[in-house]
């Protein structure tokens, strides 16, 4: 029984990892960022390249990936999203276009492949990063066999969630973000630099995506389209959880992760995911704004 719960918890933590960044941008700015999955992918590739060229291990890749994805997020916000505030469907579509561009950029090795210059680690091939040995050996604890890497992911997710909660509710800039979430015009009237704060928020959410990418790279193959499946799961969690609600995102990832885990054990993985989608459809029909929404933007 505990095994099943642990699997569910593990799945939930991966969902939450992805959804955390999405939730921030969705809640703070009403933006559905379909390129979020690609930011995850870029984080993963950052780890791969850092391993090849800079000899960085998993842990050191984490902040590097955060920085890379955050920087890319800033760029996307500046060039594309800034022009589309308030147009939620258009941001969904435009960021999908950005996702296509980013995927192709990796496939084409930023266009250098046209000149027969090949960057090792990019292209259409599959990549892997090496996980430190102490994280790969399962160990026993309280009668259960624990997968250390999965536990590590749960731990990191927990830390990041706490960090995000802290930033949101205990810092000045977090308060500014929450003010913008409730009423951007009044926030601006109070002297908050809405543009700068929104951009930083988006960058932070993107950075989290990068971190997620590094962790995923530890157990999934890194390929250009690894982002697509991930972004759908992530943003379904965010929508079910509710606009702008951190609690909602956490709750939804727990809920959907556990459902996935339980059904996967009872029958199979594929059916489990199908059931999760079914549950999501019903929940959105019942409560489109999410389980924990508040009257924000």
């Amino acid at each position: 029984m505990a095994d099943i719960l642990f699997i569910g918890l593990s799945l939930s933590s991966i969902l939450l990892l992805i959804a955390l960044g999405l939730s921030i941008t969705y809640g703070a700015m009403g933006v559905i960022n379909m390129a979020h999955g690609e930011l995850v992918m870029i984080g993963a590739y950052t780890a791969v390249l850092a391993g090849i060229y800079l000899n960085l291990n998993l842990f050191l890749s984490l902040p590097l990936a955060f920085a890379t994805s955050a920087a890319l997020g800033l760029l996307i916000e500046r060039l594309v999203i800034r022009r589309l505030y308030g147009r939620i469907i258009d941001t969904l579509l435009a960021t999908w276009g950005v996702a296509i561009l980013l995927q192709q950029a990796i496939r084409l090795e930023f266009g250098l492949s046209f000149f027969d210059i090949h960057i090792q680690g990019l292209g259409t091939g599959l990549q892997n990063i090496s996980v430190p040995a102490f994280l790969t050996q399962p160990f026993d604890f309280a009668g259960m066999t624990i997968q250390p890497y999965r536990s590590f992911i749960i731990l990191v997710t927990l830390l990041l969630t706490l960090l995000t909660w802290f930033l949101f509710y205990r810092t000045r800039i977090g308060m500014q973000v929450r003010a913008i979430m409730r009423n951007p015009q009044i926030a601006a009237a109070c002297g908050i630099d809405v543009r700068r704060v929104s951009a930083l928020t988006f960058a932070y959410g993107s950075g989290l995506a990068g971190v997620a990418g590094v962790l995923l790279a530890g157990f999934k193959t890194v390929q250009p389209d690894m982002g697509t499946s991930v972004v759908v799961d992530g943003f379904l969690v965010v929508v079910v959880g509710g606009v702008g609600s951190l609690i909602g995102t956490i709750f939804a990832s727990l809920l959907l992760g556990q459902i996935n885990g339980i059904i996967a054990v009872l029958s199979n993985d594929i059916l489990a995911r199908a059931v999760v989608f079914g549950v999501v459809i019903v929940l959105i029909m019942w409560r489109p704004k999410g389980l924990f929404s508040f009257r924000g933007r």
């Binding site: 469907i89 579509l93 594929i270 989608f277 079914g278």
Partner: protein, 385 residues
Amino acid sequence: MQSGRFDSVGVDVVAYGAFILAILLLPLFLDDPFWLNRIAKYLVYGMLGVAIALSWGYAGILNLGQGLFFGMGAYMVAMSLKLQSSTSLQQGSDSPVPDFMLWNAQPGAPTELCCISPSSFLWLPFQAQWFGAVMALVVPVVIALALSSAIFRLRVSGVYVAIITLASVLLVRLLIVDAQPLTNGFNGLTDLGWLTVAGFEFDPYLTQTYYIVAVSLSLVLVLTRVLVGTRAGLILQSTRDDPNRARYLGFDVAAYQIFFFTVSAGIAGFAGMLYVIAAEFASPSFMDLAFSITMVVWAAVGGRSSLLGACIGAILINTIEATASESEMFQEAWRAIIGLIFILVVLFLPRGLAGVGQDLTARLIGMARRPSAAPDRQASRDAAE
């Protein structure tokens, strides 16, 4: 600022007529059966463009899961054609049994369609080819009716509708993949027989098969254009613009949304059927999310509010991608270019390339008129009334 929309029936007749003429006359200029078959597939994509434009441009409903209806239509016909194929008839029984069912069967199971696996009896009626063809329209329509009734009666709107359609196509895709004994799972249905009508077999590389697709597309284009030109089509557009105002004028907005969403799904299902006839396979990849969103990209670039624009957009984008297939790199580069164009269209050109075309035509016609005409008056609407 440009005043008045450019929407003359006269211009449409010319444009649609030219396009239909072009696709019907194509075989005279294109000898290569391999390319003709390819174009036939792109014409099917054009039909998908029409379906998206109807739902998104006219009804204001963004369907990110149109692949669901396309895929269901494809599978229905594929089931019938599978049973007709020679590989199904060699399995040691008098009636056909699909090869994959034999591979998946429990040892000792009877090699009969009714009983080789617990759910195989569902295939029985597909032994009649017309059944598959009819189901290819009926099943998507029924699913669309059910789904849209729930969505629109519950007044779900905007982006949440898009998200539900997205989740729906993913859900059905998973179910199809999971039902391995019934659908052959990931591998899809291959090794199909040819469509046979009155003894004539429609080899996908024959010109006649191309004409099935081309004529179907022409019919769909014309009928859909007529449909949106009716009073109901106008009211539909009003529900897109301001659903509350439409309600306060006495219109049951949900009924309109359900009707046109379902028509759009039916068109997609029909397209699925045609695709199988031309491509000889049906696969869960038809219900990949990326494919459904790609359809939206075609329609956006071509012009979401123009049936013909979306159609041509789909055909052009794919044709160019095909001609760029010299090297895989160029294909990837083309996809990147389309991604960029898509972003630009969403940001700056909501009416797509058709919109650009309309503006140019309006200007040309405006210049041809004498300047004494009031600038607000566009091409006459008398033809419609």
